[in-house]
Symmetry: C2
Subunit: 300 residues, 2 copies
């Protein structure tokens, strides 16, 4: 596994951390970073995340014809424009992959742009993050022990898939394969829905006249429950729209669960409440045990 | 400030940590623990949390007549039975206080039991906890820098209030005063509702046929959002029922917020989604900054 030239489009936390991890692993030659702002690219250069920087507004696509791998790690809403620029400029051996949180919409966008070259586009989703963003937040160990989901199509080239798999393994990640539709439903359930629920909760509290006094009483439970309500509004708007169908289904299921909860409360049905809470506690404790085992290097 | 004899009814995380903190502060003579199970009382004795142990099923009320302070830190659903035993057995100078998460219902229960001695009952709510329970989980520093809310009544004795305030200050806590109804509304909003939302979320996922696969994909956001969904079903059933009125109002407000969110998603209204997320992010970031300042010893 060696990447002579890697182009990272979007040198933020996700793209930057991948670049740093590959550099630490010694598997990459030169890394070119493409981004929207000079300030962030300067951070990336200063911190050794990339070797050279190109602004998106400049003519950066000349960097693509001799690239081994192009990693698109920009916000998903920009993919259509980016793919339209990338597709005609890549070389015969260039593999393109992405790091978007949703996959069906990315695949549709990529198909439209890449056409016959779609076989060497490998849709992927690294499951990692921190509360921070930008190249300055990049960490070489961000993916260590984390999962990267790849969602290949029937026509995806086996060599391209193997190269992208090896790239993420070199970052310390474990790579798992899922059907794109299944991926989107799973992440709607365990990631996108909780983000929307937390956003709605804090937004509702914050709009009240006595918000300041209420929030001053938030403790440790509030802190944990709302941590994801501090995420990027733009990024989560894009994810919500990109995974809209699956999220609508998740919201319906959750609102039905709240109907059940409210009904038990209205009826003073302590037994029903306790059953619901106990089902939750049992599942949450089992989850924590399994997650600890995964983190300790055990099986997935 | 000195407590010659403290009786702790319910030697769990909350009562046990208070006992340990007072002992570390050197402000307490003997500590008697009263509990439901010999195993937990043995833990408390072994770990130096209490000096003597009495089982609830035995005749423990003889310990009360010469107690300076009785701290009731049992589940709130047991308060009616406990107060009925405590009220006739306390001495002329004994102060009774509690550590329950809801206050209007505790006050109503206490009024019924204590009658004319209600002036020396001080309703209180220490805002602290960990994921663990029982005497073995008690920590002398649990309340350090945390808030304890007291919700005195007009008839509450000033000396009793001052003693209970000093008790919690000796544990390292800051004591704040609130009207009981206001307390219950605030904690319904910032604590009880999030717990119910997290319980409903995990319970709903756990009931699906593909729960195991879904949960295997839960990452850091899932971990934080659902941490409080692992709480005690019995305790949260009791809190939900005890603070039912305030929680019903909170659930109504939250479900209206979800209606708004679902409407924006249905209409593909990215601008509305982004506004809601941005309002949340701004409030959550301001909260974190203020919470860090409080933790660093700044003003409340």
């Amino acid at each position: 596994m060696h990447i002579a030239k890697l182009v990272v489009v979007g040198v933020g936390l996700i793209g930057g951390s991948c670049a740093l991890a590959l550099r630490h692993a010694g598997v990459v030659g030169q890394i070119v970073g493409v981004g929207r702002t000079q300030a962030n690219l300067d951070d990336a250069l200063r911190l050794g995340v990339i070797d050279r920087a190109r602004l998106l507004e400049d003519d950066w696509t000349a960097e693509l014809h001799d690239a081994d791998i192009v990693l698109v790690a920009a916000p998903v809403a920009q993919y259509a424009d980016l793919f339209a620029l990338i597709a005609p400029a890549i070389g015969i051996a260039t593999i393109v992959t992405d790091a978007g949180s949703t996959k069906q919409d990315v695949i549709a966008t990529a198909c439209a742009a890449f056409g016959p070259r779609m076989a060497t586009f490998v849709p992927a989703h690294p499951i990692a993050g921190t509360a921070h963003s930008g190249a300055a937040a990049a960490l070489p160990g961000l993916y260590d022990g984390h999962i990267v989901i790849v969602t290949p199509l029937p026509e995806t080239d086996a060599v391209a898939l193997a190269r992208v798999t090896a790239l993420w393994q070199a970052c310390g990640a474990r790579v798992a394969t899922l059907d794109a539709a299944r991926h989107d439903r799973i992440y709607a359930a365990v990631s996108h829905l909780p983000h929307l629920l937390a956003f709605a909760y804090v937004a509702e509290l914050a709009a009240r006249p006595d918000a300041a006094q209420l929030l001053a009483h938030g403790g440790g439970g509030f802190r944990d429950f709302t941590r994801i309500a501090g995420g990027s509004p733009e990024m989560w708007r894009d994810i919500a729209l990109a995974n809209r169908g699956a999220l609508q289904a998740e919201l319906r299921a959750y609102r039905a669960a709240l109907d059940e909860l409210a009904g038990a409360l209205d009826a003073r049905d302590g037994a029903a409440l306790e059953r619901m809470f106990a089902r939750s506690r049992t599942a949450r404790q089992a989850w924590e045990t399994a997650a600890d085992r995964r983190r300790d290097g055990g099986e997935e």
